[in-house]
């Protein structure tokens, strides 16, 4: 039991008509990690999540949640996770408190437990002041917070978040990240989808990049970035007459191609440690440089390289 995966997804496939929206996707999620599903619009993130959370029947493939098959043991599997969908899944016509109470009762809490948990969650998510107002008057951020609060009623150890920060302003987004990190600290496993590379980079331990229904790459954010081509070194040679010599010298130090734009030279490094001998050699040759910079690859590079765009 100790090494059991939180989620095992194998060969998950979904067709709408003759369009394959999720195409033979397999991955595992370890307990305690944040797993990010990253992909452009229409990639199939929501569809994948809906199949894992039993909202949608898969055409093929299998999902196990803490070892329990979601088809054969649907109810048991459902009792193990909380879900916050892409679109607000709270009742618009009633208040935040009523929403929490009703969902707590539907989750099987007794009336007094439900009341206690509702009060706790309202406080935890700073919703006390508007607890009894109709949701129609809620801002997007408040709605999202309530939505998440409802998913956390039973303190599930596994939480699914479909685009938790889409449509939130930067401050509210950062608050949501803090909340998510807090949940991880308390031991929760989190699966989230996002279109924001920065978000995936900030939160996820492991990432799966999905495009056109296919899983195109999987790994940690660091691994994926490395794959995108390591760090990029660039500098400007102060004296125009020395540029050719500098380029020649650089070529002897690194394996990658040296690129020249005017007096600026740039080259890919496989590791940052390669920098020292380069600087030493330049110094020895008495070549003056300025505007030195080392750029880490971003997930943007990975994303752009791997996804075709225009779904």
């Amino acid at each position: 039991m100790t090494n059991m995966n939180a989620i095992e997804v194998s060969h998950l496939t979904k067709k709408f008509g003759d369009k394959t929206v999720v195409d033979d996707i397999s991955f595992n999620v370890r307990p305690g990690e944040v797993f990010g599903l990253l992909g452009p619009n229409g990639a199939g993130k929501t569809t994948t999540l809906r199949m894992i959370t039993t909202l949608l029947k898969a055409d093929a493939g299998q999902v196990k949640i803490f070892g329990h098959d979601t088809v054969k043991e649907g109810r048991l599997a459902r009792s193990m996770f909380g879900l916050t969908g892409q679109y607000a899944s709270v009742d618009e016509d009633i208040s935040a408190r009523e929403n929490l109470m009703i969902f707590a009762r539907l989750n099987g809490l007794s009336r007094s437990d439900a009341k206690e948990r509702t009060t706790e969650l309202l406080k935890e998510f700073s919703l006390e002041d508007s607890a009894d107002k109709a949701l129609k008057n809620f801002s997007g951020g408040m709605r999202r917070r309530l939505d998440l609060a409802v998913s956390l009623i039973t303190r599930p150890t596994l939480i699914f978040l479909d685009e938790p920060t889409t449509g939130l302003d930067p401050r509210t987004r950062t608050q949501m990240w803090t909340t998510i990190r807090e949940l991880v600290k308390q031991g929760s496993t989190i699966v989230l989808t996002t279109q924001y590379l920065e978000e995936a980079d900030q939160l996820a331990d492991n990432l799966a990049i999905i495009d056109h229904g296919k899983l195109v790459r999987m790994g940690t954010p660091a691994e994926l970035k490395r794959e995108a081509g390591g760090s990029k070194l660039s500098f400007t040679v102060t004296q125009a007459t020395q540029v050719a010599a500098a380029a020649k010298l650089l070529a002897t130090q690194v394996t990658g191609a040296v690129r020249q734009t005017g007096q600026q030279l740039s080259v890919s490094l496989s590791k940052v440690a390669e920098l020292t001998p380069i600087l030493a050699a330049l110094d020895q040759a008495k070549i003056m440089i300025n505007h030195l910079s080392i750029q880490e690859p971003s997930l943007d590079d990975v994303f752009m390289n791997l996804t075709v765009g225009k779904n």
Partner: protein, 257 residues
């Protein structure tokens, strides 16, 4: 606090869902329009507009239209469940219901329970309006309760049909327009507002096929004679058949969603 998980319980889940639907209605007074304002409006309009022409006076017309409008209101209250179910299914809330470890049928059952309360409100409003306009049935209060229950049961049985419609339709708007048409045809092509013998032959033929005619006749008979009739029994049987046929169909359509 430790969160205790009880096994989902159909009765409890259904009660919670019924409570939710009632809360929604209370917070959204629009949802009361059809069960409160409509019967009052129709009773006043029909009574004062057509009373003289059809029965020679408002008072004389009331025994005809009180049962007529009562059943018409039941029909339109029943159509409400279809639209509400469709709206629910299309909203994100339903995803949450489905992902909870609760009794699968509870949202549907809760809706239909909440509907019976709406039907009760509609019945009380219709009969009270009639009373205020001068309707004085000769029978005891007990029989008024009986016809009230008969109307509610009929309305409830019909709401299964509209619920099925709601589950099969593409949008809430589609449900609403189909329901409205059904409601109008069923209530006007019957003896709800005019005596059958005043109708032309083809119309009378249609009205005689219309189950609404039988429900209204049964209610009028009870109110006239102060006793249970064969027609009333027939209505109960008809309602039971409707539930027996449409409840499984509705549950099937619900499962499919």
């Amino acid at each position: 606090m430790e969160v205790q998980m009880h096994k989902g319980n159909v009765v409890m889940n259904t009660a919670t869902m019924a409570y939710r639907n009632l809360l929604k209605t209370v917070h959204n007074p629009d949802n009361f329009m059809d069960v409160v304002i409509q019967p009052v409006l129709f009773m006043l309009m029909f009574g004062y507009l057509f009373g003289g022409a059809i029965a020679g006076g408002v008072k004389a017309y009331l025994p005809t239209i009180v049962p007529g409008i009562l059943i018409q209101t039941m029909l339109s209250a029943g159509t409400g469940s279809g639209a509400q179910i469709r709206e629910d299914l299309d909203s994100g809330v339903f995803d949450r219901f489905k992902s909870l470890p609760m009794a699968h049928i509870a949202p549907l059952a809760g809706q239909l329970f909440a509907d019976s309360l709406r039907l009760l409100i509609a019945t009380v409003t219709s009969l009270t309006t009639g009373y205020l306009m001068g309707w004085r049935p000769a029978v005891g209060f007990g029989w008024i309760v009986v016809i009230g229950l008969l109307a509610i049961f009929t309305g409830w049985a019909l709401s299964w049909i509209f619920a099925l419609l709601g589950l099969l339709a593409k949008s809430a708007a589609a449900v609403q327009s189909v329901s409205l048409m059904t409601m109008l045809v069923l209530s006007f092509m019957s003896n709800a507002f005019v005596p059958l013998h005043s109708l032309t032959k083809p119309l009378r033929f249609i009205a005689n096929l219309n189950p609404v005619t039988y429900v209204i006749t049964a209610i009028r008979q009870i109110l006239a004679t102060g006793g249970w009739t064969h027609e009333a029994l027939l209505v109960v049987v008809f309602d039971l058949v409707v539930v027996a046929v449409f409840a499984p169909l509705t549950v099937w359509a619900y499962d499919r969603n």
